[in-house]
């Protein structure tokens, strides 16, 4: 008999794997939905029939579906995501396309850099604002933070981004409006260039996260055992540290994971605004040109990150749940 904590964690892991499997099925099938003449579209009107046939063969379109899926999945797992469609038809049949992984790898590093910068600022800030707003509920402070964040979450990311560009870049000339970073630049240069996109993301995330944290804490503070602690004469700090905090991990971690996952989405728009060379921009370009292998690669990375973050939050809630930790 497994310990309930282990059992529940294994269940969640299994569920996560199943979800990833379904996601991979959807991504894989996206190539099926391409119109019949996509070979010509990719290779150009002038492509020879033989070239088109070779191209289809390279994609494995002559193989049975299930075989193709396992080939593709095996490739995904080993980092071989196929070759990009772009560059195939250029100048008389020479194939200048690059492997997806080559396009993706440097951009992934950039995106992670941007996302971590935003996360490092936003998570502590949002938790601080959310918890203090919940504790000083209905105060002027709470009300104004509340109204401000309600306004901020209503703004599209690009509105916040251009507003910041207009003020901090065009007028004050503090930061560049384009974040065209190069990988070999020193850390502080990259941080400087990345500041505006990171700030944009931070503003959007903090609003969401602060509101969720506040709601979670208020919900917690309404528990009868908090009133009991008050009736046992515990001071405010004792109530928070001893009675609220041990039960707050699960909701707080859920909030953090949810918003880090949201970061994944926000990053796409922000990268485009600032022409930041990340995965998001790559994906948007690939969608516009219907470069399926690149879309598949980018989407797989985004989906896996999102699923892993949620899985992580689930596991934290499981291992902090006294009911599971100390079964009957």
């Amino acid at each position: 008999m497994l310990h309930p904590v282990v059992r529940t964690i294994l269940q969640r892991l299994g569920l996560g794997l199943i979800t990833l499997f379904v996601v991979s099925l959807i991504l894989f099938s996206s190539i099926e939905f391409l119109p019949g003449d996509f070979g010509e579209a990719v290779l150009g009107q002038a492509a020879l029939p033989e070239t088109v046939a070779a191209f289809r063969k390279e994609l494995g379109l002559d193989l049975p579906l299930h075989e193709r899926y396992f080939d593709w999945l095996g490739g995904m797992l080993t980092g071989d995501m196929g070759n990009s469609f772009s560059g195939r038809g250029s100048s008389g049949g020479t194939d200048r396309s690059r492997p997806v992984i080559e396009l993706l790898a440097p951009r992934l590093a950039n995106t992670l850099f941007l996302a971590s910068m935003a996360a490092i600022i936003s998570v502590p800030l949002a938790l601080f604002l959310g918890i203090t707003a919940a504790l000083y509920r209905n105060s002027i402070y709470d009300r104004s933070v509340n109204a401000l964040t309600l306004t901020t979450i209503s703004f599209p990311e690009f509105f916040v981004a251009y507003l910041l560009i207009l003020i901090l870049s065009s007028f004050l000339k503090l930061f560049p409006s384009l974040a065209n970073i190069s990988p070999d630049a020193p850390f502080w240069d990259r941080a400087y260039l990345t500041f505006l996109p990171a700030l944009t993301l931070t503003l959007v995330i903090v609003a969401h996260m602060m509101r969720m944290t506040r709601a979670a804490i208020i919900n917690l503070m309404a528990s009868p055992y908090i009133e009991m602690a008050e009736l046992k004469g515990a001071s405010k700090s004792e109530i928070i540290l001893r009675h609220a905090l041990p039960n707050a991990w699960a909701p707080i971690v859920t909030v953090i994971a949810f918003n880090l996952a949201y970061l994944v989405v926000g990053v796409v728009v922000v990268e485009v605004v600032f022409v930041y060379p990340g995965v998001g921009q790559l994906m948007v370009d690939a969608v516009t040109t219907r470069d399926v292998p690149v879309v598949q690669g980018c989407a797989m990375i985004f989906a896996a990150t999102y699923i892993l973050l949620n899985l992580f939050a689930d596991i934290i809630s499981i291992i902090t749940n006294p009911r599971l930790l100390h079964p009957r």
Binding site: I18, T19, V22, V23, I26, L27, S30, F33, L34, R137, N138, A147, L150, T151, I153, S154, F155, P156, E157, F158, F159, Y162, L163, I165, L166, S170, F171, S177, R214, A215, I218, A222, A261, Y262, V264, V265, V268, V269, V272, V273, M283, V284, A286, V287, T288, R290, D291, V292, V295, A299, F302, A303, Y306, I307, N310
Partner: protein, 327 residues
């Protein structure tokens, strides 16, 4: 500790139960009709609306005003716009002037006119998409709740779990690359993706109602499913669903704006705010030479932001009012 909006339930019960006085009992004991209760005044629909508006906080009034303005512009766009939606003039990036109030865009189209038509297109498309999402998600959600724990409920709930395990913007991008980016595909894709969120909430609120004894009483009476659905369940889940509609609309509206901004949403020549931001974004570089020109991309972006803020304010007020919901 005297907070206004969080009276605990027991104190509330104590308040609600007070009302009939000792004299009602008298010496002859108990009479059922004598139990005094609170009767709500019967008011007409118009009176209710008027009373609601008068008690509304300034944020909600602001929101309602803004929404009405947008609806007005959307409905009468052709009458209000000085030029046609796709009418091209021979001067691209014209500065702000009497002729072109907000200048022209890269092709020489009047920004003001496109802003006004954008109210119709952008808001209209988001509204239609949200409607679709509600019909799909709401219908399936209530069905799943009635089938609570059955195979249909399990199938639907698990499918929704998987769909929601992928961030919706990313999912939308995948699907748009599969099916191609055009307005019809956009509406269908976003509606289906967003219906998963509607499904969750519709199922959750219906579950609360389905377990009520009055639904069981109707089943015991022998009522058909349709009657139970329309008479017993639907009227009782409307308030949370209406609030959710507002929130989902904001979300859909922002998603479509983001996709259009990325160039894979609403396609030209349809005037749309998200695309307009993208098309005129370059002007922002010229802030030090011509401030008004630099403001041009901010106009459609602000139009999007303003409507979302307005809807959020109204929903916030509605939630507080309808359910006494805490935050």
């Amino acid at each position: 500790m005297n907070n206004e909006d969080d009276l605990n339930p027991s104190a509330k019960a104590e308040l609600a139960d007070q009302g009939f006085s000792e004299s009602d009992l008298g010496n002859h004991g108990y009479s059922a009709t004598a139990e005094v209760t609170q009767i709500r005044a019967r008011r007409s629909f118009r009176e209710n609306i008027w009373r609601g508006l008068r008690s509304a906080p300034p944020t909600a009034l602001f929101g309602l005003t803004v929404i009405s303005l947008y609806v007005f512009f959307a409905l009468f766009a052709p009458l209000l716009a000085p030029y046609g939606e796709a009418e091209i003039f021979d001067m691209s990036y014209a500065p702000w002037s009497d002729e072109f109030m907000f200048g022209t865009d890269q092709l020489g189209r009047d920004i003001l006119s496109r802003m006004i038509y954008g109210a119709r297109n952008t808001v209209g498309i988001a509204f239609v998409t949200t409607m679709f999402a509600f019909v799909i998600g709401g219908g399936l959600g209530i069905t799943a709740a009635i089938n609570n724990g059955g195979w249909l409920d399990n199938l639907l709930s698990r499918s929704v779990d998987v769909l929601m395990a992928i961030p919706s913007l990313i999912f939308a991008l995948i699907l748009l690359s599969m099916f191609g980016a055009n307005t019809i595909n956009l509406i269908m894709i976003i509606a289906v993706l967003d219906s998963t969120r509607v499904f969750r909430i519709a199922r959750a609120v219906s579950l609360n109602v389905v377990v009520m004894d009055y639904v069981e009483a109707a089943r015991l009476r022998g009522e058909k499913l349709a009657w139970i659905l329309t008479r017993e369940i639907l009227p009782n889940i409307m308030p949370p669903l209406v609030a959710e509609f507002g929130l989902r609309f904001c979300f859909v509206f922002l998603t479509i704006a983001a996709l259009s901004f990325l160039g894979v949403g609403i396609q030209p020549p349809t005037a749309d705010w998200g695309s307009m931001v993208r098309e005129t974004a370059g002007l922002i570089q010229f802030a030090e030479y011509d401030l008004t020109a630099a403001m041009t991309p901010m106009l459609p972006a602000a139009a999007i932001a303003l409507l979302t803020v307005a809807v959020n304010f109204v929903v916030d007020w509605f939630l507080h009012k309808s359910s006494g919901l805490k935050d």
